[in-house]
Symmetry: C2
Subunit: 218 residues, 2 copies
DNA sequence: GTAATTGACTAACAATCGTTAGTATAACGC
DNA sequence: GCGTTATACTAACGATTGTTAGTCAATTAC
């Protein structure tokens, strides 16, 4: 009768179940469009009972955010030290892609925050993005690539990050457009393939910086 | 006294001013987080007066969407016919970038719709994205590039589109991160430079498809 | 000039929101 | 066993929401 298998994943506490429900709803609808009644309904309790676990809606949101940020920053913390080789950049990108596939909610929450430009944005920026822009960051052996030598590096870093995150935030649209589950293993492979190919192209491209193309027709 | 200069841009009607205000607010906060009171305040009227111009909130939203879609589809309609050359792909990308810089609201509205996966999404998809995936679309002279030959083409098309749109939807974050106005002329040049460089790298890259990088550290 | 239409307004509604107060029940400490 | 704590509940609040009804001044039609 004792469920040792379930002991590995013990029955989640009410607070955790509230966090789970709130995370999904905040990520889908955003802060103000998510009602505490919706959260409570998903948990199977009444909305005033939420106040036994969180001070108010704002505190619940911040708890959701905190849990997501620690979840996402953990696997990447090991990259903080040591030289930044090309291989580590690839590994870093692949890790991020897999993380966002495993849990799309952080990207969605971040996108909501960025759109509304609310006060939540700053905390997100500091925790997630600022580490990407440490001044000493330069990729070994990439001194003369198009990105490094053209002053576009921070833009390029953001671009690749956006590539990963927008895939997640646009996922419902991908589903309708391409007719397949954007979170399937096959889709994950496709995205990894594409994004690594783009990164390789950037690293190995030896041509000039885009000189501009005459906008007139043929 | 007659203002001939103003005749070129005649005083906008109340309906237009409502559309302008609603467009900004829907794009910033999303549908349900935007109240008709906010819209009315921006126009300088009371919220019930909105009903003299639009049937209800939903109709106002759809009118905003309709105006944006026609505004954005017009400059690109000329690309519907004729062969798809590389130069035309560059021109198409540059046009899209410039459009979204001139008015970021469509991208933001689209991002809100995609996140919430609401019923508005389908109309947006059909009008904006489906033309990108006409079956006969193949880029002249690109038969053997990495994108064309690897079955990644629709993914790549979406990736480049996401690159453009996520720049806009993440603009507030760019402002705080990079410390400059993401919609300045200089920033526009930077983004155009980066995105064209990426596209050139994709077109001219002759290496293999990403073979995967051993994820183990050094 | 008068009638009709437009478009603003105020007042008010039902619903929903976040939140508080007060109560009851089950579990836990000693 | 008993008091304490934790956590669920119902009832109710003030505020805000989208929306309707009805009024009134200004513009337009003839």
């Amino acid at each position: 009768m004792d469920n040792q298998a379930a002991a590995a994943t013990p029955a989640p506490s009410t607070a955790q179940r509230i966090l789970d429900a709130a995370e999904d709803l905040f990520a889908e609808k955003g802060y103000s469009a998510t009602s505490l009644g919706d959260v409570a309904d998903r948990v199977g309790i009444r909305s005033p009972s939420l106040y036994n676990h969180f001070k108010n809606k704002e505190a619940l949101y911040e708890a959701v955010l905190e849990r997501l940020l620690t979840e996402f920053s953990a696997p990447l913390s090991e990259l903080d030290s040591g030289p930044v080789t090309r291989e580590r950049v690839f590994y870093w990108l692949e890790t991020i892609v897999r993380q966002h596939h495993a849990n799309p909610n952080l990207a969605r929450l971040l996108q909501h925050a960025a759109l509304s430009g609310g006060p939540h944005t700053n905390a997100l920026i500091d925790r997630l993005f600022s580490p990407m822009f440490r001044p000493a960051t330069q990729i070994e052996g990439a001194e003369n690539t198009l990105i490094e030598s053209s002053g576009l590096q921070p833009w390029a870093v953001m671009a690749f990050n956006n590539l990963v995150m927008s895939y997640v935030t646009m996922a419902p649209m991908y589903r309708d457009l391409l007719g397949q589950d954007p979170f399937s293993d096959e889709a994950l492979d496709n995205q990894l393939n594409l994004i690594k190919t783009l990164l390789r192209a950037v690293f190995e491209y030896k041509g000039d910086i885009a000189p501009g193309v005459p906008p007139s027709g043929e």
